[in-house]
Structures are given as structure tokens and as C-alpha cells.
């Protein structure tokens, strides 16, 4: 067993010296450079940073949507690089629930059918799929909206349906990309509170990309990124302080007293 696999056994997410390089013609874009981090089971963490800092790239790597150019990505004891495209799809269906900024519900399906979509990939019967979808909708407080189409739901309700869809297959990891980006303040608070609840009550590990300083009050850890690099030490502290100020807290971090900056792994020797 390698160091990474041993660490992976204790952590739900382990990234070791991960880089992601995009080529656009002759140009090379370093979206992520030598990024190493660990997220323990049941934690609610946020990736924060300015646009183009590599947050979404990191999220795609963690969720198995994208592959690193170099380095290792371990999630739930599985090194994702070793999986084929189809195996990755199967793995995502089993282990990852995804939440997007614009909800991305299928407009022609009811809330219940939208939530039940990931269960099409299982061997559950139709009635069992419906039962599980109804339970997931009850968890997010939308049991009265089973038959409603997305267009007659509010933005906050649509995002709750999306959260129920992410939750319905009981994944180890829930990944959220700017889940409050398209919501007003009240709904954003509601969604963040719901994610917090899922982490606290159901032990779900949640990784979220956000610009929203309000998130600091709900997450366990924050990883700050800038220009494709995971910030550490004083740089991370400075970024965190700026966020706390933006969130309305003081420099001492009153707004999020129990939260800490994320812990990056030591760089490769």
C-alpha cells in the first residue's frame, strides 16, 4: 500500500500533487498546479477564490468528471485515474451527488421524476425509485411538490430538488458548484443551511465551490485557491480574513468562529 492509498483509507478525498493543464491550440493553460489536499469523511468544505482560480477544475477532478494531467485523485478509497470512462460514470453514479449553480433540472419531468433520474441507473423497481425520490424530497422539505414541473417552482425550490437529486442515491460525496450563485439571499441561506444539515445529520461529505461569503458560517473548512494554486499558511489566512470581512464578520472571524482554513498536504519532497 502506498502512502497515498494509506492516507486515502482514512480520508474520503485525497489529492496528491495534482495538476491540470489545458491546451488551447499552442497555448497551455495551467488550471491547477501541484495541488494536494485531504478531506475527511463527513466534512463540509468550500473551495473559494476569484474567477479563474481553479475551483471548478478542482471540483471536476474530485467528482471524477475530469482527469488530472498529473498526480493522484483518491475518493472513497478509489484512485480515479485508474478507471475507464465508463467505470468513472458508474463510479460517479454510485458515489457522487452533483449540484449545479443553475439547478439543471429536466424541464419536462416532475420534481419526483427529476429526483429519481439517477436511480434509473440502478436495478430498483419503478415503485422503489419513486419511493426513494419521495423520501429525498421530504428531506429537503418539498414533499408537497412531487408532481410540480421545474418551471412552476421558485429558484430556491428548484435548487432543493437538485439537492434531493444529488442525495437520492445515498452517495458518499456531494459536490456543489456555486449552489447559491443563482439565488437570492434568503434562498441562499436556506440552501446552505440544508447542506449543513445533510453533513451534520446524515454524515455526508460535501465539497462546494462558492464565491458566497455567507458560506463561511456553514462550512467546516475552506480551501482558498488563486491562479490554480492552493493557498497555504499566511496567504490562506489573508484570503480567509478578507472573506470573513466580506461576510460581515470582523478580522478575528466572529462570523465563523468554529471554522478553520483548509489544511493542505505538505508539498512533495
Amino acid at each position: 500500500m502506498t502512502v497515498e492509498s494509506a492516507s486515502a483509507a482514512r480520508s474520503l478525498i485525497l489529492l496528491s500533487h495534482v495538476s491540470r493543464l489545458y491546451r488551447r491550440g499552442v497555448d497551455e493553460i495551467h488550471a491547477l498546479e501541484d495541488c494536494s489536499l485531504r478531506v475527511e469523511q463527513g466534512r463540509f468544505v468550500a473551495f473559494m477564490g476569484p474567477s479563474g482560480s481553479g475551483k471548478s477544475t478542482l471540483l471536476n477532478l474530485v467528482s471524477g468528471i475530469d482527469r488530472p494531467t498529473s498526480g493522484e485523485v483518491w475518493v472513497a478509497g478509489q484512485e480515479l485515474n485508474q478507471l475507464t470512462e465508463d467505470e468513472l460514470a458508474r463510479w460517479r453514479a454510485r458515489h457522487v451527488g452533483l449540484i449545479f449553480q443553475f439547478f439543471n433540472l429536466v424541464p419536462v419531468l416532475s420534481a419526483r421524476d427529476n429526483v429519481a433520474l439517477p436511480l434509473l441507473l440502478t436495478h430498483f423497481s419503478r415503485s422503489e425509485r419513486q419511493r426513494r425520490a419521495e423520501i429525498a424530497l421530504r428531506v429537503v422539505g418539498l414533499e408537497q411538490r412531487l408532481q410540480h414541473l421545474p418551471r412552476i417552482l421558485s429558484g430556491g425550490e428548484q435548487q432543493r430538488v437538485a439537492i434531493a437529486r444529488a442525495l437520492v442515491s445515498d452517495p458518499d460525496l456531494i459536490v456543489a458548484d456555486e449552489p447559491t450563485g443563482d439565488l437570492d439571499a434568503r434562498n441562499a441561506e436556506g440552501v446552505l443551511g440544508l447542506l449543513r444539515q445533510l453533513s451534520a445529520e446524515f454524515g455526508k461529505t460535501i465539497v462546494m465551490v462558492t464565491h458566497d461569503p455567507r458560506a463561511l458560517r456553514f462550512v467546516d473548512e475552506v480551501f482558498h485557491l488563486d491562479k490554480g494554486v492552493l493557498l497555504e499558511g499566511e496567504e490562506a489566512e489573508r484570503a480567509g480574513a478578507a472573506m470573513r470581512v466580506a461576510a460581515g464578520g470582523g478580522l478575528m472571524g466572529e462570523a465563523s468562529p468554529t471554522r478553520s482554513p483548509g489544511r493542505a498536504l505538505p508539498p512533495r519532497a
Binding site: 468528471i65 449545479f100 439543471n104 429536466v106 419531468l109 433520474l117 434509473l120 419503478r126
Partner: protein, 388 residues
Amino acid sequence: MGYTGFVIANLLRNKLRSALTGSAIALAVLLVCLLLTMPAGLDALLTSVASDTRVGVINKSGLVFWMPYSLMRKIRALDDVADAVGMVWFGGAFEEQGKVTFPSFAVEVEHIPSTYPDYKLAPEAVAAFNRYRDGVIVGRQTMRKYGWKVGDRVTLRSNVWNVNLDLRIVGEIPRDTSPIVWINREYLDEAIKAQGGAGLGIVMIVWVRVPSPDRVNSVMLRIDELTRNTDYETTSQTEKTFFSNFLGSLQGFLQILLMVTALVSLCIVFIAANTASMAVRERAGEIGVLRAIGFRRRVIFSMLLAETVVLSWSAGAVGVGLAWVVTTSLKRLGGSIAALGPLGGFSVTPAVILQGLVLSLAIGIFAGFAPAYGAARRPVADTLREVF
């Protein structure tokens, strides 16, 4: 909801677009099915109207060239000839129309029943045809077309002989698809002489009845032998061959129509493919999300392909159904609307149904393959990055 429900829900997402694409496919399949009924329909028509024990004899140079009337006596004297009737084109135009709209011939009245026993003419019609020199027997199709009935009088103007004949309808050829009008040869002969002409000394076509099909070839050979080295050499054919030669040019026309329809179907494939591409492009984000939550490439490919196949096949079934309705209606109307002519005899057979459904399936597969393959192959991260 299962995969089927999901596919149908996606199809109903843009009802107008699905309806328009489906209509285009249904129309193409309808056209193909109708055309496919025609060769079989013409063949069935030929079998129903033509006898294989009746031989047609015409001048070798063509139908418009004549033969001397004396040939009739020689033909009837041959062994294995049950009877024969000589005909001359009258080219009668109904006064009110002013143009020839049905075939009319001057015939030897007394030889009609024994040459055409299969026509099952009513005995009273035959008797009246013999009794009245101005008597005329009319095919049911023409009777219905003009609303004529037995006992009516009509005047036909010949476009060949420069005579007008006042005629009495004495009977009907009891065949729904028969447009023929038979008038008395002697009556025409008198009319021509009354105009100062020399009278009818010719025949233009001779129909010979042979007792059995196995003697037909020998009779045809002997008739043509009779006229060898004369200036009216003949060519003999069975009635079925005779009419199929007429329809030969129609068959060629049908081939061209089928080719055009094949091209139309190809155009429909491109239109449907374009529609499928647009649908896939509009749903790129959704497809990306489905891939992200674990739908494998082959599942995405199958679902997208299934959408075009289900649409195309359903539309094809509608097209086949419409073809059946059209041909069945024509068949029913054929009895009452004589103008439909042979169209009333066509029908959608199981083979045509199968071909129509296979065509619609092929349209769906060809139209849906490329867009579905492209969407399924696209890396999920690229799609999400581009859309969100």
C-alpha cells in the same frame, strides 16, 4: 418513470417541432407506400382485365395501321380459333366534352359474345345489340362517369371518320374498370357510305379467342404466318402481353417516381437529422448533467437515438396507416367514381406495410445516429465547461 417515459417526455418537449418532423416523415412514407402499391396493383389489374386465351392481332407496323377486312375470314378458318372479332377505332367524342375521353370501337356484333364469354354480357344486352343497328354497349366505368343508363341515347362524333352517330345504349360491360364503348360496325359502315365514303373495308385490331392457353402460341404463329410477305404483316400477342406493353411505359414512369421518392426520403433524413442536431444542441447542458450524474455514453447514445427512432417509426406507422386508408377509400370509391380508373384497384399489402415501417426505421436511425453519437462522445467536462 423509466427510460421509455423519459424518451417520450423528451419527444414531447417541443411538440410543434416533433409534429412537423413527424409529418414530413409520415408524408414521405405515405408517398413511398402508395408508389409501392402500384406495380403490384397494375399487375393485379392486368390479371383481372386481360385473358390469356385471347389473342390480339395488329399490323406489324403499329396500331394505327390497318389490315384488310378479308383477313377476318381467314383467321376464323384456322384450327383452334373459337371465334374472332375485328375492331375499328371509332374515336368517339361525347358532344358535351368535345374530346375523346373513352376508347370506342366499331365491332362485329355477332362475334362479341363468343369472343368475350368472360365478360358475361347480359343476354338481353346481347340480343338488343343484335337487334338495333344503332345499339351500343358501354363499359361500366364510362356509364358511371357520364351517368348513362341502358335506354339512354347519346350522340358521338368520330374524330376519325367524320361522322356523328346517334346511338342507343342497349347494355353494359359489367366490369367496374372497363371504359370501352362498342358500336355496331355495320351502322358505322352505312354512315360512312351515306357521307359518300367507300365504307369500312378494314380492321385495325382483331381479337381472337382460343379454346385453351396451350394452343395460343400455335394460333399466334399461324396467324402471323398467314400475312407473311403481304403489305399488312401482322404481329400477334396475348391480351395480357398486349396490355402490359401499354403499361410498360407506365412502369418506367413508376420507376422514375420511385427514384424521386427515394431522393425525397433522403431529404427527409437530412431534415430529421438537422432537427435531431438542434434538439441535442439545445439540450447540451442537460446531456452534460446526465453524463455527470453517471449516465454512461452508450445509455446517452441509446436514449437520443431512441428519440429519433420512436418519432420516425411512429410517423412511419401513421404514413403506412394513411396509405392503407387512401387505397381502401379509393377501392371503395372506385365502384362509384369511375374517374379513379385503375387507382381503385391498388391496395396496401403486408409487404408494403413492412417496407414502409422498415423505411421509417431507417430514416430514424440514419437521422439520429450522428447527433446522438456526437453528444455521447463529447467529454463531459468539456460540455459542462462550455455550457455553465
